[in-house]
Amino acid sequence: MSKDIRIKKGLNINLVGAAEQTISKAVLSNVYALNLDDFHGITPKMLVKEKAEIKAGEALFYNKNREDMLFVSPVSGELIEIERGARRRILTLKILADKAQQNLKQEILDISSASSQELKTYLLRGGCWPFIKQRPYDIIADPDTVPKAIFVSGYTTAPLAADYDFILQGKEKELQAAITALGKMTPGKIHVSVGKSSHSSLAGLDGIELHRVSGPHPAGLVGTQINKVDPINKGEVVWTVTPQDLVIIGELLLTGIFNPERTAALAGSCVKAPKYYKTKIGAEISTFLYASGVNSDDFRLINGDVLTGTKTQPDGYLGFYNTTVTAIPEGDDYEFFGWNKPIFNKISATRALTFSWMQPNKKYDLTTNTNGEHRAFVVTGMYEKVFPLDIYPLQLLKACMVKDLDEMEQLGLYEVAPEDFSLTEFVCISKQPHQQIIREGLDLLHKEIG
């Protein structure tokens, strides 16, 4: 049927160290933290002071531009530190967890009879609203907008990322509750995608339009699916939620409790025993990283997958939106004649004495080395091979770089998020920072127009 999405352009990046599909329980973290960089474009206003005692699910701060949008604590305990950066900008909030956890319980709402407005208020108050993101601009959704559709991608194609089919097992009830509630907030459809032959818990839900997706990365990115199913036009708004966040939303709706539990994949070639851990948002990564063990001193730890995640440290904390933690070797070493000798151990989108095309299923151990220096855009036609959206990627990037608002708008900046450019960034011969360029372009457009 035409609802299926088949992606041809793209590139699967097969890496060593995929998480084995077994779940271990991570040891309890002493300290939990929220990293405020996770909430792009939000100016926080604190609701509690340092040293205050708070319950799990109790609000820590709100959005300055939207007072009813609350951000809640993942655990109960004492707010031990408000870490600030330049100009007193809040960076992280650290909470020392209580031994006995206390939850703030919301009054349970009857989803079937509640109105859209009641549900929105409920999610805003319960701390679940930040899970709902919107396009254009790739920011936390504005609760006042009415989206034309809501997209949920349950298909994992990003390298080493947590497999949704696996981590959503047994979560049907929560997923359904969240979908039913979201369904009231849009007159349009809720598009849910799963892999072509997957038995995902998502596939059996009511009130959704199911899409079976096949093809290489970025087929699993929600931006790719939006572009193929119902592209965003100027003025339109689309919401996106990731499936694991739907589970938390669903649990809040069903039980009244904000339960930030995550089944996170710990993956990457530097992890001795990559597998899944049951942990919580904001938990210290060392609580499960060292349970699996690392086999190198010089590795990069990433909150998220290798293409879109953010750099962190073992004493860093699981990000608000992340279900994957990846550890790969740092590549801070020189390579003798690295630019002209044949390459067998790295992935390439060309065949210029690079041989990854001969073994498409081989798993690679890639490092963080840039494999070359930053240059002006020279080569053309490369990005188009891995970019399935109906957008001219090079031209859009250039429009963002020269801050040409008209051109950005006309070339489709409303439709994309930085993550959609993660693969073009990977293959870029000139080593340009695509995601940063797009992020800055979106911020500019938001400031000037949105």
């Binding site: 009415v146 034309k148 339109e236 879109t308 790969i328 740092e330 060309t350 020279v378 993660s422 000139s430």
Partner: protein
């Protein structure tokens, strides 16, 4: 061995930090990154990057050019001695081992072709380094290919000082004033070629400069001919030409011409390698071939229809069979190595089809109608370089128009807050 390499690596690493922030840092880094791929790691966005960089890309093009350079060195000698034989009335039968791949021929190549390569790289790279140091950016790799292309597209007897002046002009005016590699509008190698052609027209055209020795012997008792095939045709001496060269000479490249343009066979191999390695655009190559065939067919048709007679100046070139245009002159070389330059060519896939087609089409057209000089590839490509942004503009407008058309059916819902305000307004009224 590995110990030694480690120390070299470490020593260079220390030096790199010593040079950091200094004026000469770009110059040092150019040598350093030539020896070692840098130790740079990702700072934003994707944490991993693909294996290719600009050096590797440029190096691939150079690899595709090396066989042509080697062949051209032998051919320079072969054409020289063949012309002497012809002038003396000695019949000469081509034999690869006996009179083509010989030391004698190679020596002519070493003394005539190699200096062109050295001057081209020397002058060009010195200017690149100076600009990099002045402007404080890294030495970019663009000239690695340009420097190799230039000696291959000039006549073998081009004086070295002329080449040096042209290279300086081409690199400064053709590239650096626009901001360096990736920013230029015209192909630098062709800018250099065009400068030579327009600055020294009497030297750069005619029937002498194409074979080594023809210029210095001109007018003397031992004068030899350096006429190219297109030169014969432009003078309506087609019969004389075909008595000297057959199709296979043209295809394998045993003909006079610019240094590297003669061997269609090696150019074809290079083109296939570039397509296979995904470095050059096959769209441009294919459409340029089609474009030149179409133009050639049109000219053949004009001749067949009898609209042009043998007395016409254009008869020789117009009656030349359409597909043979591809195996003589610089057309094949231009299509494979020049038209596919990603910086100056069309950047959209659809644009590349149009861009390539017009290059082929115009090349043959200019070749036939150019009264001063029977070749048009470099002019056609330079012309299309100028038009490439326009082609891209219209291709991209197609995408924009599609987006605007979609916008008509957009489903935009008013914000909740908007509708509240409207309700309030109604109440107050």
């Amino acid at each position: 061995m590995s110990d030694k390499r480690l120390t070299l690596k470490k020593r260079l690493h220390i030096l790199k930090h010593r040079f950091r922030g200094k004026k000469m840092a770009p110059a040092f880094n150019a040598f350093h990154t030539f020896l070692f791929a840098p130790d740079e790691t990702t700072h934003s966005g994707s944490h991993i990057r693909a294996a290719d960089d600009l050096k590797r890309t440029m190096n691939t093009v150079i690899m595709a050019l090396v066989p042509i350079l080697v062949f051209s060195m032998f051919n320079a000698g072969y054409q020289h001695f063949a012309a002497i034989d012809a002038a003396n009335g000695v019949a000469r039968e081509l034999s690869l081992l006996d009179n083509f791949f010989t030391w004698e021929n190679l020596w002519i190549g070493i003394t005539q072709v190699l200096p062109l390569v050295i001057v081209s790289y020397g002058v060009g790279l010195i200017i690149e380094f100076i600009f990099a140091v002045i402007k404080g950016h890294e030495v970019e790799e663009g000239y690695l290919v340009t420097g190799m292309l230039v000696p291959l597209i000039v006549p073998v007897d081009t004086p070295l000082w002329m080449l040096a002046v042209a290279v300086a002009f081409g690199v400064v005016i053709g590239k650096e004033v626009f901001g360096g590699t990736g920013m230029n509008i015209l192909n630098p190698a062709l800018t250099i070629r065009a400068f030579l052609f327009f600055a020294y027209p009497t030297w750069m055209s005619g029937d002498k400069v194409w074979v080594h020795g023809a210029v210095e012997r001109a007018g003397g008792p031992d004068a030899i001919s350096g006429e190219t095939i297109l030169g014969y045709l432009a003078q309506n001496k087609g019969a004389e030409m075909s008595a000297t060269y057959d199709i296979w000479d043209m295809f394998w490249g045993f003909i006079p011409g610019s240094v590297g343009e003669t061997s269609t066979f090696l150019i074809l191999l290079g083109g296939l390698f570039l397509i296979f390695s995904k470095i050059a655009s096959w769209r441009i190559m294919v459409s340029a071939v089609v474009g030149s065939l179409v133009m050639g067919l049109i000219f053949n048709g004009v001749v067949d229809a009898g609209w042009i007679t043998e007395t016409s100046n254009f008869y020789g070139l117009m009656s030349f069979e359409f597909w043979k245009h591809l195996i003589v002159g610089g057309l094949a070389f231009g299509i494979v190595y020049m038209a596919t330059d990603p910086v100056t060519g069309s950047q959209t896939n659809r644009g590349k089809w149009i861009y390539g087609f017009l290059i082929g089409f115009l090349s043959v057209m200019i070749r036939v109608f150019n009264p001063a000089y029977p070749e048009g590839v470099f002019l056609a490509i330079l012309l299309m370089n100028v038009f490439a942004p326009t082609i891209d503009h219209y291709v991209i407008r197609g995408n924009v128009a599609r987006r605007l058309k979609r916008l008509k059916n957009a489903t935009i819902f008013p914000k909740d807050s908007d509708s509240k305000e409207e309700e309030l307004k109604v109440e107050t009224v």
